[in-house]
Each structure stands twice: as C-alpha cells, then as structure tokens.
C-alpha cells in the first residue's frame, strides 16, 4: 500500500508576501487607495524636505550670538544651546544649580523604578517620592536652613518650576481628590451636596480665572496682615482645581469595585474608614492609576498658564528669550524647543499609562 504523502505546500504568490505584498495590502489595495496614497505621499514628502532642511541640514548648532546664525537659512539651534541654562533653571543663581540637579536626580531615582516590574523596595521608593522627597526638595531649593543660602521663590523658574508645579499639584491633589470622591458617594446628604458643588464648581471654571483669583484676589479674602507667597497661592489654586478632576477619576474607580466587596467588608464588621482604607481604596486606586497619569499629563500641559499670572515657567522663559534683540528672530526655534520638551514628557507618560492600562486590564479580566 502506498502511503499517502502530501506534496509540500506551495509558497503564497509573490504579490502577497514580502515588500510587494505589504505594499499591495497596505497602500495600493484599491484604485481609490492608490490615488490617495500617491497624493498624500507626494504632499508629505514635498513638505518634509524643506522642514528637514531647515531643522537639520542648513541649521546652525554652535555660536554665542546672532552672528553665528546669519550665514545659513536654517534653524538657529545655537540660540537654544546658549540659553539652555535659563530654560532649565530660570533665574536661579548659577552657583546653586546643584541643588536643583540633586532634586531632579532624586526624582528620577525614586520614580524610575516604578516603570520596572520587579525592583527591590519599589513600594518604599514610591512612598518616599510622595512624602520624604517633597520635603527634602523644598528645603534644598528654597534654602534658609541647614546652612544653605535662602533663595526667594521669585527666582525659581524654567523647566524646574514647570516640573515643580506639576508635581506638587498632583501630589497635593491626591488626598483631596480621595476625600472628595468618598464624600460624593457618602450617604450623608449634606456632605454629598457639598462635595458635588465643590467638584462641579471647580470643573466648570477655566483654570486661568482660578489662577488669576489666587494670584491677585486671595489676600482680600484673608484676615488683614496675613499673606502667602505668590507661588504658594498659585499652587493652592492649581491643587483645588486639580483635586476636583482627581475626585472624578477616583470616583470612577470606586464605582468599578463590585458591590460584593463593600458588602463583604461591612459583613466583617469593619468600620467605614477601615473598609475604605483597607479594602476599597487599595483596589480602586490601583484601577485608576492610568486615569491619574492622564490627569497628570493634562496638568503638566496646563502649568503653562502660570505665565499669564507672571510666573516664569519654561514657556515664559522661552518667550522672554525670543524677544531678546541679541538673537534676532528665533521665535520658531524657541517654540519648537518648548514644544519638544513638553512632548517628550507627555508622550512618554501617555505611553506609560497605556502600557499600565493593558497590564492592569489583564489582571481584572474574568
């Protein structure tokens, strides 16, 4: 008996594999797509060439004043190199830059490990970044203690200030947001009404009017003779604003916890705070980490508004620098640089949040 032997399978036709196949499938599958691909492709290439030429091939990368850039037709990146310290540190005294550097290093050291799955003492580093880190950095940056020279908040600026505003805004808003979210789901009508009113009020008004109010009008509401630092007032405004958004994110998490968890914790006889603190919140907060990261991205972009009330964040320092007659017209270079700075941070964080979402999603799949 002859055993049945199948012939080896033929390879797929050449038009469906390799580069040709890919091109056929993704770019030229139908006549309409072919036309679209050709038109759009032409537009992209023809606009990309001058942009690349401006940004890279004809650009000037070194020099100390406008004479360095007068030769070429391209971008004047020398300007950015010349001003990089101001963009990064604002008008913080140059001799004290090391303090900001240490803070930044601490930030990276305590937050970096959070991106890795397995890292020893990861949780303790997280706790440190929310508690010890802000305290250490506050004393490092403002000085006035431990023999460090005191540096007034008016000199804080640049990227350092942007990071500071965003960080404090998010860390301070977290506890407020938790309290507000719990309050909004409370069974006590007075508390619930107040929390809803608070959240809707802050979410309904633009951040710029909140900042204006905190920067100019807050002293009017306080007892006579009492006053806050301008930066602190802006931070209070940002925190209030942010805690309302945070509360809504956390409320989403609280709603996602199955009812059984609430009932089980009650059945065990746990008090409200114990059942929230030990059972519900740990689960809910884990669920909403991506949401918190997204709020953080939004806040990070919104910190630029402080330039309207006269704080010198990175965008404000860029704006001040591009009006300097020493450099001529470098507006585009300045804005592109600022945009890149924000983009790198925000894009990185959004990628992180997406990967977290995927990771957490699998954990809860049933």
């Amino acid at each position: 008996m002859n055993e049945f032997k199948p012939l080896p399978s033929l390879p797929p036709p050449a038009s469906l594999t390799g580069v040709v196949g890919w091109l056929h499938k993704n770019l030229f599958s139908t006549p309409l797509y072919t036309i679209l691909t050709l038109v759009v492709g032409y537009l992209v290439i023809s606009s990309l060439i001058p942009v690349l030429d401006w940004a890279i091939f004809s650009a000037n990368f070194t020099g100390n004043d406008r004479s360095a850039c007068e030769s070429g037709t391209g971008a004047c990146w020398a300007f950015i190199g010349n001003r990089i310290n101001i963009f990064a540190y604002g008008s913080y005294p140059a001799a004290e830059y090391w303090r900001l550097d240490i803070c930044f290093a601490l930030l990276v050291l305590s937050f970096g490990p959070q991106f890795f799955d397995k890292f020893p003492y990861k949780m303790w580093l997280g706790v440190f970044s929310l508690t010890g880190f802000p305290v250490i950095c506050f004393y490092l940056i403002s000085g006035g203690a431990f023999g460090l020279e005191s540096i007034e908040t008016g000199k804080w600026g640049g990227l350092a200030l942007t990071l500071m505003l965003a960080y404090v805004g998010i860390v301070a808003a977290l506890p407020f947001g938790i309290v507000l979210a719990l309050g909004r789901r409370s069974e006590m009508p007075v508390i619930r009404t107040f929390c809803i009113a608070f959240i809707e009020l802050w979410r309904g008004v633009p951040l710029i009017s909140v900042l204006f109010m905190s920067s100019v009008m807050l002293p009017l509401f306080l007892p006579e003779g009492m006053n806050f630092d301008k930066l602190l007032r802006a931070l209070i405004g940002i925190t209030m604003f942010q805690s309302a958004y945070m509360a809504e994110v956390i409320r989403g998490g609280l709603q996602a916890i199955p009812r059984g968890q609430y009932e089980a914790s009650k059945a065990l006889g746990l008090s409200y705070w114990k059942s929230m603190g030990l059972i519900i919140l740990p689960q809910a907060l884990k669920l909403v980490i991506p949401g918190i990261v997204n709020t953080f991205i939004a806040l990070f972009k919104d910190t630029t508004l402080v330039l309207i009330i006269g704080l010198l964040d990175i965008l404000a320092t860029v704006q001040a620098s591009i009006t300097d007659p020493e450099w001529g017209s470098v507006a585009t270079e300045g804005y592109v640089f600022a945009a890149l700075c924000f983009w790198v941070f925000c894009f990185g964080m959004s990628r992180y949040s997406q990967s977290l979402e995927r990771k957490l999603h699998t954990g809860h799949k049933r």
Partner: protein, 337 residues
Amino acid sequence: MKKSITVFGAMAATMIATSAFAGTLEDVTARGTLSCGVNTGLPGFSLQDDKGNWTGIDVDVCRAVAAAVLGDATKVRFVPLTAKERFTALQSGEIDMLSRNTTWTHTRDTSLGLNFAGVNYYDGQGFLVQKALGVKSAKELDGASVCIQAGTTTELNLADYFRLNGMKYSAVVYDTSDQTREGFEAARCDILTSDQSQLYAIRSKMADPTSAVVLPEVISKEPLGPVVRQGDDAWFNIVKWTLYAQVNAEEMGVTSANAMEMKTAADPNVKRLLGTEGDAGAKLGISADWAYNVVSQVGNYGEMFERNVGLKTPLAIARGLNALWNNGGLQYAPPIR
C-alpha cells in the same frame, strides 16, 4: 503621618508671611527689607538683567526709600507686577509700596484705597508710527489700527482723543509691553501708543529702530509716581519726603559724590537735609541721616534721571518737564524745615 503633617505645616509657615497689625514702617523695620512692586520689564524704569539685577528710575525710588528707612539701599525685595495685578497687590498688602510707572488719576486716588506719594516722572501719552506710512501728525491717523497695553490710562486717553477729533480707530490690546512691540513690528497695527518715555524704550528694543518715528503730539498728562496704601500717614510721609529729599538735594547741589563733604557745608538748608542740624528724620520716625543715606547711596533726582533715562542712555530723553522748577521744569519740592 502626624509628623509629616507637622513638617508640611512648617514648610507652609516659612512661605506665609504674617505681619502684625502695626504700621508699614514698623513692618519694614522688623522685616529688614522693603517689598516694592515694580514693572515686569520696561527699559529705563524697571528692568531685570539676566543676572537678576534690577535697574531703572522706578527701581531707584524703591532703593531710595529703603536707604531712608533701613539705611541700606540694597535691602529691597522687588516684586514684578503686570498692570492688571499692581493695585490689588498693593491693596492686599503683598507689597509695601508700588513704584511702577503708575499714572496719578482721580479715580485711582479716590476709589481704590490708595495714595499717590508724589511724581517721580512727568510723562505724556504719544504715538509711535511706522516711518513708511509718512504720517507727520496725530491728526492724520483716522482709520488706523492701534497697538496698546491693557489696563492702562492710555487706553482711555486714546479713545478720548480719537472721539474728540472725530476719527475712528481699532484697538489691538495686549497684556505686556513686549507683546505690544511685537504686534507693532509685525505690522499688526499702524501706530503704537503709550507714555512718551516708554515709546523711546520700546523703539530702542526694536529690530530696526529707525523704521519708526515718535510723533510730536502729546495727548495727555501722565504724572507717574510711587503709590502707598491709604490710611497709613506715617509711611505715606516717608515715601513722599524721600522723593522731595532727592529733588531738594539736586537743587542744593548735593550729589552722591559730595554728600560727605556737604554735611559740613555752610548752608543751613543743606545741613537740615543731611541731618547735621534739626530733627527732620526724627519727625518722620526714622534716623537723622536718612536723606544723607538716600543721596549718598542712590543719588539726587538729577543723577537718578541721567543714569536711567538721560541723554547718555539708550533712551536719550532730555529733562524737559522733569527739569527742576528753576530750570523750566516741574520738579519742585517743598523745603525741609
């Protein structure tokens, strides 16, 4: 947890400045620094260089008050303010005095709870025009677009002037002086209007200063001076007489260079000013050599003017209205006696 709350509390406390109910003078002496509101950036008046040092005629007024009260002109904390924030910052007590090219008007003096302590610069509103337009007089400006800074008296004067002359305009309003200049340079508007002194400052910052001309017309009175809160007369007097001391010093020929020798001059007026005779300082509640400190550390009014906005500076402004009264100007100080 409790500990961390205490730590945060301590942090907040270092950033909160609570002052007693006492007068501004006591507060300033207790604190050891004068907190003075200035412009965020206006060449000749108040400008911060990239090392963080402030220069300008408004800034020097702050320094003079610090010299009079604390004996040291460097003991000033400058608070840069936009036009929108300035009055509220003073009202709320965030600053002890405001020296930010602020025009003395009836409304501001009466309804904002403020007092103007004097005039350190007599100004008037003028127009900066693109040279290419060939305009010779402000009367030819019908239909023009005007770049202007928000929240200033110039915004009102402009409306009045065009209405009075039966002309139309469209106002392009910006928040800061730099934005206004950029709008003007980019031909967003045909003319830029502001106080005359600022027009020169703005033109000096343009990429091509020769492309714009300042028109001869001055359409308003803009007496600029330092401002204090209403209801603290002792402090009001100190700021007012610091200004007068500088003007008197110029009139008597006392300068920062010769103040030491002049202390023993024959003229009793000079002696009273510099504190070798009389008790002018004690009557203000400050040290006897207050005016000596002002003149020796900051200079007399003329020195202050020439150093910041005078003919040898990029602004190149002549004394004009700001000359002493006996030179055909308006700077006149009551006698110290």
